[in-house]
Amino acid sequence: MREDLSFLARDNFPTLLTTLQEAGYHTVGPQLRDGAIVFDTLNSVDQLPKGIHDQQAPGSYRLEKSDSPRLFAWANGPQAIKPYLFTPREVLWRSQRSKTGELNFSTVEPEVKPTAIIGVRPCDIAALYLQDKHFLQQEKVDPYYKKRREQLLLIAVNCTHPTNTCFCASTGDGPQAHYGFDIVLTELDDGFLLEAHNQRGGALLEKLPVQPATEAQQQHAEHALTHAAEQQTRQLPGQNLNDALFKNLQHPQWQKIADRCLGCGNCTAVCPTCFCHSEGELAALDGQSSEHHREWDSCFSPGHSYIHGITIRPDTRTKYRQWMTHKLGGWHAQYGRSGCVGCGRCISWCPVGIDLTAEAAIICGEGDKDE
């Protein structure tokens, strides 16, 4: 039995939120909007999705309500942390032209406040670490991402209710969080097991009305997480598919996918690790000032591979191939691991239900090529 686990009774759960708020954090958490669980400002625990369960399948996401008191009995929604650090659109700098033609460039600093996100999943943390590698652990650091990242406190919640599209157990990124959080919770019927991962989390925990977790509670949690992993039916055909994918660049399956794929880029937009963005310009009509911004882009956008008159990837076959070979292949050399954390969002939120795991299996030669 572990000594470092605490128990917070369900009735006392609101103290977690109020403690964070009193410490000056802008609190963010999961809640219902437009038929999905989304992350937004969380003022009260009443906003949390109590008794809500998600039914996900390729191309489909539905919520159901039960009378369960549980707040985290669901897998995930279309987004989690990514938009809070790598924002969908932001102004980077301004150019001001004087009457005599000189140019002055000034950074538009992001307005950042200490933010605590509650309800982050292990897969989301894995994705966060990958985005950290991309934006921060480089020769050139992204200062916008960095500024927000430094202000982030994370309350993770282990996943006890994976959905049909989840495959984090196979990528090694869940259902239990092992790193990257301040505190992690495991939800039980009557309350939560809490574990602090760092000093900040420990200090926070000390302010909560917790008791040492009993052996029975710990066994319940362990069992729930083992069960969560066992429930997952999907998996990628291997941890490192780099060689298998690049060996199969002419596989007929790429075209079969392209016949179904809408090229909408939703998979890339909901993917918690995708980082592509385009830079653009919005000039005032008077021509003297102009804002230089960036916004999420997608390797499925026709402009993504455009270069003076040539589109390197003119068709969906090559675009999808770019997305998958990079996500599951190229990332290994670039970031030391696959770019997929098994959250399954690209499967659920694909309007036509293309299943990354199934397609990867076919292309890597482990599936039925005749479908």
Binding site: G35, R260, C261, L262, D286, S301, C350, P351
Partner: protein, 257 residues
């Protein structure tokens, strides 16, 4: 500084795209500072035959008179912009291209002999060279501001190459198709409106026309999977931009089956 001269012309249309000028607010004053508006009947100035640097043309070619006017306008304009779905793709009135126009006229009007109309409603580009097409039903003020600003900078206006879905996700709208089974045209439609319909929980109507490399047959299959019958699928594609490919061929295929 010599101000470029502009004109705003109207053909068969609802006038909604011209409102993109009038609804600009303060920017309209900034615009008026930078260009000389020679002709814009809805706003005041009338000089239809003025020679201009930039002509904005709203509406489709639908009458004999339109055929003659558009030639004159082209001759008088250095740079011609088709503005909105009607001018760019024939508009909603191009629905009649799929029917017998004479029969319609006879059915609708008590004295059909007074009606002067061509059998088809056609985009401006079917008749004269169009330098830039602005899609949308209607277009919005930002499209005009960006276009005019780029032309004042003497650069080609940047084409919109994103699909609506991408903008919808940037705004973190919940996909209405995936979460509710709504039929949505976003995956084959050009961005431009800022994902207006999905932001109020409705599927996209494809006002901004077909996106580049739109996979219409695949979307049609998906709509079928959502329970739509062929006639309904055809209506999705053959609506605001019925004359634009690849909407037209996918729509016609579903219409005929």
């Amino acid at each position: 500084m010599i101000k470029p001269k502009i004109a705003v012309h109207k053909f068969s249309s609802c006038d909604g795209c011209q409102l993109a000028f009038l609804n600009m607010g303060e920017s309209l004053l900034a615009l008026a500072d930078r260009v000389e508006i020679m002709h814009f009947a809805e706003a005041g100035p009338v000089d239809e035959n003025a020679s201009v640097d930039i002509a904005f043309v709203e509406g489709s070619i639908a009458t004999q008179h339109d055929l003659e006017r558009i030639q004159k306008i082209r001759a008088n304009s250095a740079y011609l912009i088709s503005m909105g779905a009607c001018a760019t793709a024939g508009g909603i009135q191009a629905l009649r291209n799929m029917a017998d126009t004479q029969q319609w006229i006879a059915g609708v009007y008590a004295q059909p002999e007074y009606i002067d109309t061509l059998d088809n409603s056609e985009p401006i580009s079917d008749h004269v060279k169009v330098d830039l097409a602005l899609w949308g039903c209607p277009i919005n003020s930002q499209q005009i501001i960006t276009t005019v600003r780029d032309l004042l900078f003497r650069v080609t206006p940047k084409p919109e190459r994103d699909k609506l879905c991408l903008e919808c996700k940037r705004q973190q709208q919940v996909c209405v198709m995936v979460s509710r089974g709504e039929s949505c045209m976003g995956a084959v439609t050009q961005n431009g409106c800022g994902a207006l319909c999905p932001s109020v929980g409705r599927g996209c109507y494809a006002c901004f026309g077909p996106a580049e490399d739109a996979n219409c047959p695949a979307l049609a299959n998906r709509l079928e999977g959502l329970g739509l019958v062929d006639r309904e699928i055809a209506q999705k594609f053959l609506f605001i931009n019925s004359a634009a490919e690849p909407f037209q061929s996918t729509g016609n295929k579903r219409k005929q089956s």
